[in-house]
């Protein structure tokens, strides 16, 4: 796996997403309240717009989630699966904190 440096860990707010470019692919990067990091595709599969990083982070029965701000479908941050419409999923990416830098793994 090749890792690409994205940003300083401190520049991520808890329960908040930011958009990033992985090569030329838009990715949504999240830091949850307990400090865990997730990275999924930024493009909403229902409308084609790059907006997933702007969604509200939360949980559904404990599963960490993000809701697309466009039409509000909820996706698992762990698996990328759409919890409202199983069968549709966002791509997921490996993500890690190395010292104070966040890195995403290129697939």
């Amino acid at each position: 796996m090749k890792w690409q440096q994205i940003c300083a860990y401190e520049s991520l707010s808890p329960e908040y997403g930011v958009p990033a470019l992985l090569g030329e692919h838009p990715v949504a990067l999240f830091r949850t309240g307990d400090g865990e990091l997730f990275a999924v595709g930024n493009v909403d599969p229902y409308c084609g717009a790059g907006v997933i990083s702007r969604g509200i982070v939360g949980d559904r029965e404990g599963e960490p989630t993000v809701a697309s701000p466009m039409l509000k479908q909820v996706f698992s941050l762990r698996t990328g699966e759409c919890l409202d419409d199983p069968g549709t999923r966002l791509p997921t990416f490996a993500v890690r904190r190395k010292d104070d830098v966040v890195e995403i793994g290129l697939p």
Binding site: L29, T32, C47, G58, R89, P91
Partner: protein, 836 residues
């Protein structure tokens, strides 16, 4: 083959008949000609007096666009039937046409009875039947003067209420020893008299009218009663009963009933097999019915025969009535007067509270035969379906206020819960279980129960819980509380953040339902800028970027233009910004200019230019006050009676930034021409020559609604004070995403309750509501400027965290009509790769 049906009369019953035929006649075998004497199509005559209480003729109308456009319905207004030729099977109309029919339905209704007292036809004498009558009464009414209503029955009290709404002091003259002699008994009549007396009505019972007296010009100047009493007045309304309009019958050779009315059998057939009569003009087996519900049943009986050549006969009518007259509950049901042999009565009267209740029981005190309720008719929905059945509890328990030791469980399955629409308890519980209904609205939609007079709605709630449906008001899986409960918790505890709130009162980490709701509550209570710290992650995308998300991921930017008033310089700035950033521009429906296609990273620079030019955020993105639309007002308009522009600006600036359960819009019209369309708004203001009228609860989203009058003739400060209270009451107590219209409907007591709280301060919270609004007004600051001042907030407005200036590859535009429009890109290939 198409046959022709002629319906004479377009009142409530005639209209229901046509609707029933059209609903059942899928094949379109009937072409229907409807003759309506009035200039308007059918309207809700039962709600007539609300026409003087803020409702328009349109609000009362019963017809839809589909009805008017129906090619199989030919509605001819201002046209009556002059005669019927049974042998030729034709109807001659008052405008000279001769129309052939295959079937004819007479739905001519009734006319008000005017007793032939001397002076009954003077100028200043009116009847109470049509909207035109009400217009005439309105023109003749003088505020502060006495008005006389002859007749103290149901309609008479309606008419008295109409005079009261017009600011007059009504006197009611009733021959019988009590008001509403047909519906209530002596004890109930006494309580009723006292209650309406408290409302400013003067009641003269057991009084005959000797004459209506004229002045020199031949106009009414007073009324003299048989005991010599005189009442000075120039308005007299006769409301002493109705007579069936059966004048077409005799010349056509149709039989009339002994006491009037076109005689029909139990299938509403006259002696001619092609002719039917329905509603108040029909005497079913000799008896006329003066209520709309039996008329509707007749309409269904006839429609069944016309379309299916079948159907049941008229089952007889339930003459039970429950109404709120002048704010006083009155109900009577079953054998209210105890005419059944051996009937027993149980009475509970509470003079202090102004309530009266009577049950009529069988001679063995086991079976309920009927009853009367005055002052509090809460028990009606439980008692009426029990008529003819064994009592489920001791009678005294059934009579206690608020009804009630019994609940829905006591009702047998075939008891009719909604008598307006003939829906039984069984129908409702079956629908709840089979269709998995979870709330009252769904039950209404599915069964029609509760959709007419609404008196059975409390029972529908009970039936839902009887079926095991808990109507939970939990906000989402993370909070067991409702939005308004959370509001009170945050308000009372001073909690500042979402994590504190969910940690102490909820569970889990939240979601896209509870986070924005809590964000809105925190913002309503002035707990900091919406993007401060943790608040940012709670906001729906629009509030997070202070702009409106569009379908391709770009945003639109809308600066506030209070009241739609703008200088040329500011217009130029908007034009320059839009040009320089390549934005699509559009004038909105709310008197603003919307600029579309801004990328996230462009927003701060766009705002900077707008803020520098004196603009601020228009909150077009928020569940917040949007616009206060205005007409041009009395500065420029020939008709304007108040300065609507100044008032719209004052209101928009006052409430700017106010976060609320749903977006809020308002309008201010400078005169009754209503150019600002204020009554289609959550709160609307219309100028009169005496001040401002305040309307609330309009808009309604996909269930369009007109706003209704909350208070009239207010001065500037009085208007603002009531709006402060109204908005804050709404913000505190409404559910998440509940519009003002739905909120008002959801309150027990509806608009009346809002009026009590907001205008009369019945809960004693008005000062608190005003203080909360004052705090909001004092704390307002522009959110755009707040972002521009704060580098931490600005850092969030980047296309990519690791490439702040790289444009988002999913965004592209093409051109149409000289401006940009978004192009949807094909889904990026990475999605397929990963899926494979």
């Amino acid at each position: 083959m198409t046959r022709t049906l002629i319906v004479v009369g377009h009142g409530m019953v005639g209209h229901r008949l046509v609707e029933e035929v059209r609903a059942r006649d899928a094949a379109g075998t009937w072409r229907i000609v409807v003759l309506g004497e009035e200039s308007r199509p059918a309207y809700d005559r039962v709600a007539l007096s609300s026409y003087l209480d803020g409702k328009s003729a349109e609000d009362l109308s019963l017809v839809t666009h589909e009805f008017l456009d129906d090619p199989l319905v030919d509605l001819r207004l201002d046209t009556g039937a002059a005669s019927v030729d049974r042998h030729a099977r034709t109807v001659s109309t008052t405008d000279g046409a001769v129309l052939g029919y295959d079937a004819l339905v007479l739905a001519t209704g009734s006319r008000p009875f005017v007793p032939p007292v001397p002076g009954h036809d003077l100028d200043g004498c009116f009847v109470y039947r049509t909207l035109d009558d009400l217009d005439e009464i309105r023109d003749a009414a003088t505020e502060g003067k006495p008005g006389v209503v002859i007749g103290g029955g149901l309609l008479g009290l309606e008419a008295a209420n109409a005079l009261r709404l017009l600011g007059m002091h009504p006197h009611v003259v009733e021959m019988a020893p009590r008001l509403m002699p047909l519906q209530v008994d002596e004890g109930g009549g006494q309580v009723l008299s006292r209650l309406v007396g408290d409302l400013g009505l003067t009641v003269h019972c057991g009084a005959a009218t000797q004459s209506v007296d004229a002045d020199e010009q031949g106009r009414v100047r007073g009324v003299t009663l048989a005991d010599g009493t005189t009442i000075d007045t120039d308005v007299v309304v006769f409301s002493a009963g109705v007579r069936p309009r059966d004048e077409l019958a005799e010349p056509a050779g149709l039989e009339r009933a002994e006491r009037g009315g076109i005689l029909v059998d139990d299938r509403c057939r006259t002696s001619d097999e092609h002719i039917y009569a329905v509603g108040e003009c029909a005497a079913v087996e000799g008896r006329c019915y003066g209520l709309v519900a039996p008329g509707y049943t007749m309409a269904e009986v006839v429609a069944g025969q016309l379309v299916d050549a079948a159907g049941d006969g008229f089952p007889g009518a339930d003459m039970s009535t429950k109404l709120k007259l002048l704010g006083v509950d009155v109900a009577s049901f079953g054998d209210a007067h105890g005419t059944t042999g051996g009937a027993l009565e149980v009475v509970y009267a509470n003079n202090a509270a102004g309530t009266y209740a009577k049950l009529v029981l069988s001679d063995d005190a086991q079976v309920l035969l009927g009853g009367v309720l005055v002052g509090d008719a809460g028990a009606y929905s439980v008692l009426r379906p029990l008529v003819g059945r064994e009592l489920p509890a001791p009678p005294e328990q059934l009579l206690l206020p608020a009804g009630s030791g019994v609940d829905a469980g006591a009702l047998p399955g075939d008891a009719i819960v909604c008598s307006c629409n003939n829906v039984s308890k069984q129908d409702i519980t079956t629908a709840i279980t089979e269709q998995e209904l979870t709330d009252v609205a769904a039950v209404k939609g599915c069964t029609k129960a509760g959709t007419s007079c609404g008196s059975c709605v409390p029972m529908l709630k009970n039936l839902l819980s009887e079926c095991g449906v808990s109507t939970s008001n939990a906000l989402c899986e993370h909070f067991p509380q409702s939005r308004s409960e959370l509001f009170e918790i945050v308000h009372a505890t001073g909690i500042q953040t979402f994590s504190e709130l969910i940690g102490r009162h909820g569970s889990g980490r939240g979601c896209d339902i509870c986070k924005p709701a809590v964000a809105s509550i925190l913002a309503s209570l002035g707990r900091g800028h919406v993007l401060d710290g943790e608040h940012a992650g709670l906001q729906d995308t629009n509030d997070r970027f202070l702009a409106n998300l569009q379908r391709n991921g770009t945003y639109s930017v809308v600066p506030r233009i209070p009241g739609g008033e703008i200088t040329p310089d500011k217009l130029i700035t908007i034009g320059e910004v839009a040009r320089d950033f390549g934005l699509y521009t559009k004038i909105t429906g709310g008197q603003r200019i919307d600029m579309f296609g801004a990328r996230v990273e462009q927003l701060p620079e766009i705002w900077r230019r707008l803020v520098d030019a004196g603009f601020e955020s228009g909150h077009a993105y928020g569940k917040a006050l949007r616009t206060v639309k205005s007409c041009v007002g009395n500065d420029w308009c020939r008709y304007g009676v108040q300065d609507s522009v100044a008032m719209a600006i004052r209101l928009e600036l006052r409430y700017r930034g106010l976060r609320s359960p749903h977006k809020l819009k308002s309008g201010v019209s400078g005169c009754a021409r209503e150019c600002a369309e204020a009554r289609s708004k959550d709160f609307g203001v219309i100028a009169t020559d005496k001040g401002w009228n305040l309307y609330v609860g309009g808009n309604g989203g996909f269930t369009p609604r007109h706003a209704e009058l909350l208070a009239a003739d207010l001065d500037d400060d009085g208007l603002v004070r009531l709006i402060d209270r109204f908005l804050m009451f709404y913000v505190r107590t409404a559910d998440r995403l509940q519009r003002t219209s739905a909120w008002i409907e959801s309150l027990e007591g509806g608009l009346e309750h809002v009026r009590e709280v907001v205008v009369e301060d019945s809960l004693g919270i008005a000062a608190d509501l005003e203080a909360a609004m004052a705090a909001h007004v004092g704390n307002y600051s522009d959110e755009w400027a707040g972002v521009l001042r704060d580098p931490h907030k600005l850092a969030r407005f980047v296309s990519f965290v690791n490439a702040p200036d790289a444009p988002d590859p999913t965004i592209s535009f093409t051109e149409e009509r000289g401006q940009i429009r978004p192009v949807s890109l094909p889904m990026p290939s990475i999605r397929q790769e990963v899926r494979a």
